[in-house]
Subunit: 103 residues, 2 copies
Amino acid sequence: MIKVSVLYPNNEGSKFDMDYYCKKHIPMVQQKLGTACKRVEVDEGVGGPTPGSRPTYAAMGHLYFDSVPAFQAAFAPHTNEIMGDIPNYTNVQPIIQVSELKS
Amino acid sequence: MIKVSVLYPNNEGSKFDMDYYCKKHIPMVQQKLGTACKRVEVDEGVGGPTPGSRPTYAAMGHLYFDSVPAFQAAFAPHTNEIMGDIPNYTNVQPIIQVSELKS
């Protein structure tokens, strides 16, 4: 199984609307990707390694697929609509990474 | 539920021994943390947003706990042993972040 992680940096002056992300963006993404997307996990950054320290990422969204081709086939037809929604909830450029699940 | 994510940057010249991490480090961490650690997920970075691009992180380890205090209580007695094992599998300084699971 593979995981597409979208990491939103928590910079000085950055904004992230978790409410919009959870209630509008993620449901729209799931609807577009259909059954190819097996699972979604949304993390809200609450801290760094020591109590009171700042989290590096305001949020992380993880989307699970059976394979990279399955992800690409599901995502490609909707790239513009999905990426075009990003400015509606954040002013940062996310880091996108594809990983293989080891456990 | 909360998640402690440990992100290993994939820099020029950085090394990450996934075999050691999965077979030695993670089992040791799970043994030390005991039942407070509900689940572990290990991701191996395979690419960036476009085909052939480099993943930002060589690996990510995610540890799930019921709460931040539950994590702190389980981790504190073993901090030195767990952190001291890091140089056995990588030469990079990981980014550590605590997140709250939204979904």
